[in-house]
């Protein structure tokens, strides 16, 4: 008797859980479905925003061909990939170097440096954006992708702490043994610590690769040539530039967003495990 009641409540709570998950899942997936639907929607050009199923609705790849033929999306895509790859390589190298130094080496001013970095990271980035713009201008670098790469990776040192938290957990015994065997510090860094830090490296690479795809404020300030845009600014301008641009371009925008989203989803899903490890190791150790 008791067991049946227990199993009934158990079943009931399972059903409730499933119901909740389904409701929430739908809530989360619906906007994405809407995005994908709009990307494939080739409607008569009116009423794109405010009708879900207009008469004469057609689905197809029309928006994608418009995206790649009528806009400079392919150039923007190439720009973004270039910027993302370079800034991701630089950022990762910088973060690894700084966090290794702060975690494994002992030197004067180490603690103060850590606090200063923490404090510096608290300034809202675009407060200094205008100044950055003029510094770049003085260097003759405005309107170039190189400037973007430098801006994205220039302050990489500020986000050292997740990676440092990870390095802190690597046992010291191994590197001491290696040093007794005559290894130099660079060798320890290269041969012992780095191979062990794979999850955190993947995490850093992933986050720093994705961020140029999402930023549009800095691009907006630094770049003014249309052919130097990255995808985010290009897409943003596509529906925000002129008065009617939204009505005309919304489906194309969604197509572009679908392409960008697709790239990030692929990356993300393939490395999700590392991402979680990275996030949690950062959370546990601060």
């Amino acid at each position: 008797m008791k067991t049946t009641i227990k199993s009934i409540t158990k079943h009931f709570s399972d059903i409730l859980t499933y119901a909740l998950l389904i409701v929430l899942g739908v809530a989360w997936i619906l906007p994405i479905v809407y995005l994908i639907y709009t990307a494939f929607r080739v409607t008569p050009s009116t009423g794109i925003i405010n009708t879900l199923f207009p008469s004469g609705l057609r689905l197809g790849f029309g928006n994608f061909s418009r995206l790649f033929q009528d806009t400079m999306f392919s150039t923007w895509l190439a720009n973004t990939i270039l910027v993302a790859v370079c800034s991701c390589a630089l950022t990762t190298a910088f973060i690894l170097m700084v966090s290794y130094a702060l975690s494994r080496l002992r030197f004067r001013f180490r603690k103060p440096i850590m606090n200063v970095l923490l404090v510096l990271g608290m300034f809202p980035g675009f407060m200094s954006m205008i100044a950055v713009y003029f510094i770049l201008k003085a260097m003759g670098l405005t309107n170039s992708l190189l400037a973007l790469i430098m801006v994205y990776s220039g302050s990489a040192a500020l986000s050292y702490y997740i990676c440092k938290g990870f390095f802190d957990t690597v046992p010291r015994a191994m590197e001491e043994a290696a040093i007794l065997d005559g290894a130099s510090q660079p060798m320890v860094f290269w041969k012992i610590i780095l191979p062990m830090a794979k999850p955190i490296i993947v995490y850093t690479v992933l986050t720093s690769f994705i961020s140029p795809w999402c930023d549009f404020i800095f691009v907006n300030t630094i770049i003014s040539d249309r052919e130097k845009y990255t995808v985010s600014l290009g897409l943003y301008k596509m529906i925000n530039a002129e008065k009617n641009s939204f009505n005309d371009n919304f489906t194309v925008f969604c197509a572009g967003a679908f392409v960008v989203g697709g790239i990030i989803v692929t990356l993300f899903m393939s490395m999700q495990r590392y991402y979680v490890e990275g996030v949690t190791s950062g959370a546990v150790k601060g």
Partner: protein, 469 residues
């Protein structure tokens, strides 16, 4: 090992006695190296090092004379340029000549750059003097001087942190520190739309911008009260944005992790998909969906201004912002929480079960305290991040709706503005007020820095960084 200890002792002695001591007791070479860098090193055979120091001094002096000195002078004489750009009559040629006047902006910028360079130079200069004094002591003791190769080896071993930190720190200096100092200084000038170089110049005004910000004149829409309103909303927003995301993420993680629930991977993937859509895409999409003419109103057959209803202090837009933010943020905290939930030691749960604790009790007494303990630093980072969460507000409402009763006046703030979006509007508006924006930036900084310094140094992480080694 012994040698190392000697050198440590020596360094301590040098550090304690400082440069003055070095000047008093050093050899003539050391004393001369106060003025001619690298001199001592060259006379003692450390040619490469000496030439390096001399080169740096040379380049620096050339820079200072040809370029930097002028700007430093401007900065310390307390004026940021007087001559206006304009036209002047040239008697000889009988034409108007264009005159390139001063540019306060560039004077300030290059002044800051020069100060940073001087600081760097002083650092190199001090190392040079110390190196010489170290040589003096070595000679006194009859030890041999370090060769170039030994110096390199030191850089790769005991001083490995120098090559590691050098490049990242240069990046930091150029792209964070210099712009920052510059923007801090702007807060003490009258740089606004009426004083925009090169047409017009700006100048130092002391603390008057801070006075403006905190003065009560102007009534309900004066700076002080508007500032308080924006600040209050910034905190309310940061609080709700952080905790709604966190707890919803935790709850969904618990639901998915619940024993007997199938298709765990599918559920998780469903939510994680939302992370992969770039934030600005989601936000623009949501903005269009929630627009007055948007699809949501069409489907519901209503006419609700989801993002621009002014009534009740713009309550509806504020709620919608938090709601949309939930959509964006929960998947992140879901990933984090489900990662940590799996790590909770199972013996806690087993012990609780033996004691006959109910599920809610287990949650309140085991799961929640454990999660909060572990994720405390994450929560603080999130909170600070939300104080600075520009994208969500800017792309959804743009800070709006405009409310002339409570926000208008010259403050240019709007109903759902956070401090950061207000700052951004002040710098990009048609009538920019860079000086006021800088004041706001300083305030944001003080808030965030205090919050994070306290918590990071108090959490166990900072104390026990060697606990796991």
């Amino acid at each position: 090992m012994v040698l190392e200890r000697v050198s440590v002792k020596m360094k301590k002695r040098i550090r304690k006695n400082g440069l003055i001591h070095a000047f008093k007791n050093g050899s003539y070479a050391t004393r001369l190296s106060f003025f001619i860098m690298g001199f001592g090193q060259i006379t003692r055979g450390q040619i490469a090092k000496g030439v390096f120091y001399m080169l740096i001094e040379g380049i620096f002096l050339v820079y200072l004379i040809l370029f930097g000195g002028r700007y430093i002078g401007h900065l310390f004489s307390g004026d940021l340029g007087r001559r206006l750009t304009g036209e002047m009559w040239n008697e000889e040629l009988q034409i108007f000549e264009k005159i390139k006047g001063d540019n306060s902006f560039l004077i300030l910028l290059y002044g800051v750059v020069s100060i940073v360079l001087i600081a760097l130079f002083l650092l190199v200069w001090a190392t040079n003097v110390k190196g010489n004094y170290e040589n003096d002591i070595r000679v006194q003791k009859g030890e041999s001087l370090t060769t170039f190769r030994e110096d390199v080896r030191t850089l790769l071993n005991e001083k490995f942190y120098i090559p590691l930190l050098a490049l990242p720190f240069i990046g930091l200096l150029v792209f964070t520190v210099m712009p920052l100092v510059f923007m801090l200084l702007i807060a003490f000038t009258n740089y606004d739309y009426a004083h925009t170089p090169p047409g017009k110049l700006f100048d130092w005004v002391g603390f008057s911008n801070f006075k403006t910000m905190f003065s009560l004149s102007g009534g309900t829409s004066g700076f002080a009260l508007v500032f308080l309103r924006v600040l209050l909303w910034t905190f309310v927003w940061a609080f709700f944005a952080t905790f709604t995301n966190y707890f919803l993420g935790l709850i969904i993680a618990l639901l998915i992790n619940k024993k007997g629930i199938r298709l765990k991977v599918l559920w998780r993937t469903l939510f994680v998909m939302a992370i992969a859509v770039p934030q600005f895409v989601t936000l623009l999409l949501m903005q269009k969906i929630l627009d007055g003419d948007g699809i949501l109103n069409k489907i519901l057959g209503t006419n609700i201004l989801w993002l621009s209803d002014q009534r009740n202090f713009a309550l509806l837009p504020r709620l919608m912002i938090i709601l949309v933010n939930i959509w964006i943020g929960v998947p992140h905290s879901l990933l984090l929480c489900s990662g940590i939930l799996l790590n909770i030691p199972t013996d806690y749960y087993e012990a609780a079960k033996i004691d006959g604790a109910s599920a809610p009790k287990i949650f309140m007494n085991i799961t929640l305290p454990y999660m909060l303990h572990i994720t405390a630093p994450y929560l603080i980072t999130q909170f600070v991040g939300n104080i600075n969460n520009f994208n969500v507000i800017w792309l959804l409402t743009g800070g709006g709706p405009v409310d002339n009763v409570y926000y208008g006046g010259g403050t240019q703030a709007q109903s759902t503005d956070l401090l950061v979006t207000w700052l951004y509007r002040l710098t990009t508006d048609q009538n920019p007020k860079y000086n006021v924006a800088s004041v706001i930036g300083i305030i944001i900084f003080v808030i965030c820095a205090t919050l994070s310094l306290i918590t990071f140094n108090k959490t166990s992480a900072a104390k026990s960084e060697e606990a796991f080694q």
